[in-house]
Amino acid sequence: MNGRQIGDVILDLQNISLRFGGVKALTDISFDVREHEIRAIIGPNGAGKSSMLNVINGVYHPQEGRIVFHGEERRKMEPHMAAMQGIARTFQNIALFKGMSVLDNIMTGRITKMKANFLEQAIHVGRARREELAHRRKVEEVIDFLEIQHIRKTPVGRLPYGLQKRVELARALAAEPSMLLLDEPMAGMNVEEKQDMCRFILDVNDQMGTTIVLIEHDMGVVMDISDRVVVLDYGKKIGDGTPDDVRSNEEVISAYLGVAH
């Protein structure tokens, strides 16, 4: 497709099991993510896809299994530590500040990069001021990249759904992540919005070299843009491989289409 180089494994999940009390959300799941690839997680509702993402960015702590990120085994950690390590994400149900402008929302994505202390920021002098200019520039680059200049000053709550999704992606990109987790980036979008979003995801992956892990229900989209796909069902992994492998996998077909008993 292009000259993009898929690199080594940067995230390795080994035998992950996650339980909430007696409920097994994930059972003994292993898969890996390589640098610069687009990795999709698919599966029927309740298969554990979002839980998997939450494990990756440290919201949930699996009871069993090892997570190796950039060659280091991860200890128990908090989501903001994942953000510090360069993992950003978007949410299935948009989680933006509705009353704030698009620009301010994207600015919040820079939070982990801000060095000035609270007092400096409050009186807006010296380091805080210089910093803000630099951050603003980065944010403007993201705005330009995602073509949302015309809504820069518009409160997010007034935007149509498709644009809100794009703003959420913008906020994640503002953090300059090395790995981006997208939870159903195209849910509820019309065909045109989906095409736009696909193009942006491919552009991000191609031009910024960002590794992308995404959950998506639209099979057309997943098969089109992903390099490798992992399939979950009832918290178990039932398939893993290229889109073509997965498409011809018997177990996957039966999980999605059902089998005659």
Binding site: N2, E140, E141, Q149, H150, Q207
Partner: protein, 651 residues
Amino acid sequence: MPDTADRALDTFPRLLFHHARVRGDKAAMREKDLGIWQSWTWADVAEHVRALACGLAALGFRRGDNLAIIGDNRPRLYMMMTAVQCLGGVPVPLYQDAVGAEMLFVLQDAGVRFALAEDQEQVDKLLEIQEQLPSLEHIVYDDPRGMRHYTQPFIHDIDELMAMGRIHDQNHPDFLDGEVALGKTDDVSVMLYTSGTTGKPKGVCQTHDAFISSGRGGCEFDKLTDAEDILSYLPMAWVGDHLFSFAQAQVAGFTINCPESGDTVMTDLREIGPTYYFAPPRVFENLLTQVMIRMEDAGAIKQKMFHYFMGVARRCGAEILDGKSVGLGDRLLYALGHLFVYGPLKNVLGMSRIRVAYTAGAAIGPDLFRFYRSIGINLKQLYGQTETCAYVCLQPDGQIKLDSVGMAAPGVEVKIANSGEILVKGPMLLKGYYQRPDATAESINADGYFMTGDAGFFDDDGHLKIIDRAKDVGKLANGAMFAPNYIENKLKFFPHIKEAVCFGHDRDMVCAFINIDVGAVGNWAERRGIAYSGYTDLAGKTEVLGLIQECVEKINAELVQEGMLADSQVHRFLVLHKELDPDDDELTRTRKVRRGFISEKYAALIEALYGGKTSQYIETEVKFEDGRRGKVAADLQIRDAKTLPVVKKAA
């Protein structure tokens, strides 16, 4: 820089290098990039143009070559025009929203060897039709985004082109000045394609002299200086943009400002606050529609205040602007109105600093025109066409007549043929249509007058009035004059009507197709709690038909007052089930209706209108932006509008 190129300021490259010397550190161009306005001074522009021209020469660009320019208004696209002119080549700007197949004709006709494409989208269009374009050798792109994987050797980044040019310039320091010195004032400076309301587009060749004369005439007429700011947002392929953003800017040395993107024009307009502004009537109309929509949503007190002071403005605003005598009471009220309504309103529109604003391209509704003048915006009309550098008639300050296009511009001779057609002569006339001597001979008569194809007449004060396209003016079956454009413009002034097409030639009455304005009618419907799913649904609502019927009946009441047009009252109408669209060939790229095409495509509807039916089923194919096709079908209701009896005056 040696002065050899500067014997006389009679070509655009010489003008540019002149400005670089006398006002080198003044801003020539601005563009908003990453949210911040970036400036290029005249010296910067001259340096870039030099590098671009030398780069082109290094690629093998020869005197007389044509270079296509495809993209939104961007500084480097304007610079490329001058760079091409430096080498004695001809820039050919194209409408950037056309699809590849539409561009193909122009690119083939012009035999372009080089093309400058703004971005990946435009490059893709060129690659798509490349096989049918054997003459095309090099594609240069302005925006590198998404271009990383285009490794074809004939595709060049504009920055690389300039780097190449700078090396060429160092090795051959006298080269460019020599090339500029070779330029003659009657060389072709630009080729603009006519929009093709009739038949295939034709390349209009204009010389340096034509555009410089037009630019000078216009600048003197309106006393434009190098302090003006203009927002350049109209297609570069349009003659109006070339006159205002290129020719006049280069003659007077003022600043052009390029918007960030097509969607941000309104914001950019507010931020720049241009002093000199040009827009087709459609833009002024849209602005007014938006203001009216927002006013309808405003609180009761604000609405009252707005309507009261707009009443004051209607009474005396235009007179005050023209310097006519107005009573003290009205002057005081107008001053108050300025404080509370007109000032803030102009600010919201981005028009606080405007000294001169022009409109052209289509007739502007008198009420719309008067609205802007009454709030103190010096909006004027001009008249011209691609073949005349958009420079034939201008309205002089203080002598504005709402229904005329003003007097002959300095250096231009205008006369009316016996047939009523307007004929013009002057330095701004085209040199010829590109490789079409037959068409050139057809449009310029034996005495050297260009035949505009418009019908008009001079009033008692020497102001020119345009009635319609000469060929569109028809007759009703009873012999009365029928000027469809005139009626359509009246209809289109209503904020709820976006487009109208009238029929009546050789018929016993006038009937009309209407397109509603989705924004305005949608808002109207929402406030009345009328649910709708989209254009087709909204257009078919009985309530909406009632609303449009009121509009039609209002213009019938106006028409009956207008003597020779009284017979043109609209008897029957329908609201079309889809918006007329350039993609479906119903409008030209400059959004003029293609009457002939529409009457063929919708023949069944016309038949139903004249056949007295009350409804008609129609199915139409539509093209989507991505090239796919679909069908829109609807059962259209046909309404009779009330008409008033025509009182025949004794002749």
